[in-house]
């Protein structure tokens, strides 16, 4: 049935966006600046998997672990080489944002130089299609939805019940105070990037398996993930995930009324509207537009 299919598609694409948004929002809430290059971490994740699994024939699970490791390293590198030095020079959020767009373009093109501009596919073994309530869904898609929901719970639990999570929230709330009570904000920042990049890696792997890989997809994914995060509330990982599902639904139900080419446009328009009218998101705390 059409409605169920649309609903299912919303969950699937919402799940993909949520994976991107979760990592981004984790990094934003800890560091308070927009790491736009997160999209590149996601794409890099996909291409790492392609390189290890499709090109070098690692066993799948080894390829996944190596991919996650490399993506985490990439994220840590971005922080250590670019952001930390800029922050030392008291760079404003605006400079960090521009730098992050620079990093995005840099890696997007490095990926293109290494792998070429044409579309790559990662093929895995059988991917059975199931039918639920008259709508089709593949095994992989079920995994995508499950992982994104699982991550939501794991991340929320982590933020409130582990030391790292508590330290991250402390730094997010008040870095000066956190420093005084013995938490090193730079170490926490590094961990937030490692964790965020790992999430990006997971997103990249799943997106790479579900869709095709293309060097420029990082920008699009980042915008979608960012829009989801803004809709839900950039500062909370949970909000980002929920917002992403809402975006997924908006896109799928939206193209019922609009010509299909406008699918991407729905995200842009929603992003613009939310930034203008409700920048703290539907579920976010009142950060406000003024700084």
């Amino acid at each position: 049935m059409v409605l169920t299919q649309l609903l299912l598609n919303s969950l699937i694409i919402g799940g993909l966006y949520a994976l991107v948004a979760a990592g981004f929002s984790l990094i934003y809430s800890t560091n308070k600046f927009m790491h736009f290059a997160h999209g590149t971490s996601v794409v890099a994740g996909g291409y790492f998997l392609y390189a290890f699994y499709s090109l070098n024939h690692f066993p799948f699970w080894l390829a996944v672990i190596t991919t996650l490791f490399c993506t985490a390293l990439l994220g840590a590198g971005m922080y250590k080489i670019i952001y930390e030095p800029l922050q030392k020079r008291k760079a404003s959020n605006v400079i960090l944002l521009i730098a992050s767009i620079g990093i995005l373009i840099l890696f997007q093109n490095i990926i293109q130089l290494i792998f070429g501009a044409s579309i790559q596919t990662i093929s895995i073994q059988s991917n059975t299609t199931y039918t639920i309530l008259g709508a089709a869904i593949t095994q992989l898609q079920i995994i995508i939805i499950s992982i994104s929901i699982l991550l939501y719970f794991i991340l929320t639990w982590m933020m409130y019940h582990t030391t790292l999570g508590k330290h991250m929230r402390a730094v997010a709330d008040n870095p000066g105070l956190a420093k005084i009570i013995g938490i090193d904000p730079k170490k926490i920042a590094l961990w937030s990037f490692i964790l965020g990049a790992t999430l990006a890696g997971i997103a990249g792997i799943l997106i790479g398996l579900e869709q095709n890989l293309e060097p420029s997809m990082g920008t699009g994914l980042m915008i979608k993930g960012f829009t989801g995060a803004v809709i839900g509330g950039v500062e909370s990982v949970g909000g980002a995930v929920l917002g992403s599902y809402i975006l997924g639904a908006a896109e799928n139900f939206g193209v019922w009324y609009l010509p299909s080419g406008y699918k991407d446009g729905i995200a842009f328009i929603l992003l613009f509207l939310f930034l203008l009218l409700k920048p703290s998101g539907l579920f976010g705390i009142r950060k406000g537009a003024k700084q």
Partner: protein
């Protein structure tokens, strides 16, 4: 053999100089982070193209490109008037993306991703500016005029007000000045010039498509402005020359074009990051980007 190539580069440099100097007006002098600048470029390009290809004389199309872009400039500055910092930047970026979506999807108007080919050269009072050297003269004169106007503005009392807006909006309001109106004027003028640059671009290349107005172009223009130095018109002009000419040296390495494109982007991105890390004032800026 080399002369047509140099003329081609100079035409591009002239068009981009208009873009960077006008961006510096809002970014550098007024402190408004406008990541939507390229959208005005695109709006001007499409406006001029569609008008001329429907029989409107070039002069009118040229002016319309500026005026329509200016109107969008006002709409943008009004829409984002309550935003600051990175939220402002992202909202303007969002505006850019919305425009790109319109260019891509309003196919009945813009022919979508296919773009619009066969854009004619400008015809002014019966005289067609056809050859590249003639076109170069045309754009160079316009670029020089625009640079002079921007220079006059920034060195005048009005320019002092713009600097004050950048340094402390609240402080300026308390001195009795209408800060929103000042920002609006700067943005409208900046958008206007970008629109004019768009018209010059379209009628030179004779083909435009939505792919000419993306994040890549935004970063290029931003890189030039930052490298040249915030609030320095001279810096923007010199940096435009340097940054557009430098990657052309790569051509002499005889690399395949599939490599050349992304390599050029890598260089731009690296340049931006290096400048931000080691010399945020750029070449001639007196002021730090904030």
């Amino acid at each position: 053999m080399i002369l047509p190539y140099i003329i081609h580069l100079l035409i591009f440099i002239s068009i981009y100089t208009i873009l960077t100097v006008s961006l510096n007006l809002t970014l550098g002098f007024t402190g408004m982070l406008n990541l939507g600048h390229i959208a005005f470029f695109g709006i001007g390009a499409y406006t001029s193209t569609l008008l001329v290809m429907n029989g409107v004389p070039y002069i009118i199309a040229f002016l319309a490109a500026g005026i329509i872009a200016g109107i969008f400039g006002y709409l943008l500055v009004y829409a984002v008037r309550k935003l600051k910092g990175d939220y402002l930047a992202l909202a303007t970026l969002g505006f850019s993306f919305v425009m790109t979506t319109l260019f891509l999807n309003w196919s009945s108007l813009t022919r979508g991703p296919l773009g619009i080919p066969g854009i004619p050269r400008p015809e002014i009072f019966g005289f067609i500016i056809k050859t590249p050297p003639a076109y170069l003269l045309f754009v160079a004169v316009i670029a020089i005029i625009i640079c002079i106007i921007c220079w006059r503005i920034t060195t005048s009392s009005f320019g002092t007000l713009l600097t004050a807006v950048r340094d402390d909006q609240l402080g300026l309001q308390v001195l009795g000045k209408n800060v929103f109106l000042l920002k609006a004027k700067a943005m409208i003028l900046s958008a206007c010039f970008a629109g004019i640059a768009g018209s010059l671009f379209a009628h030179y290349l004779s083909f435009i498509d939505p792919g000419s107005f993306t994040l890549t172009e935004i970063i290029l223009v931003f890189t030039i402005v930052i490298v040249g130095g915030i609030a320095s018109i001279k810096g923007s002009i010199i940096a435009t020359f340097v940054i557009i000419l430098l990657p052309e040296l790569l051509r002499f390495l005889a690399l395949p074009s599939a490599i050349l494109g992304p390599l050029r982007q890598v260089l731009y991105a690296l340049l931006l990051l290096i400048i931000l890390l080691y010399r945020p004032r750029g070449l001639y800026g007196r002021i730090d980007l904030e």
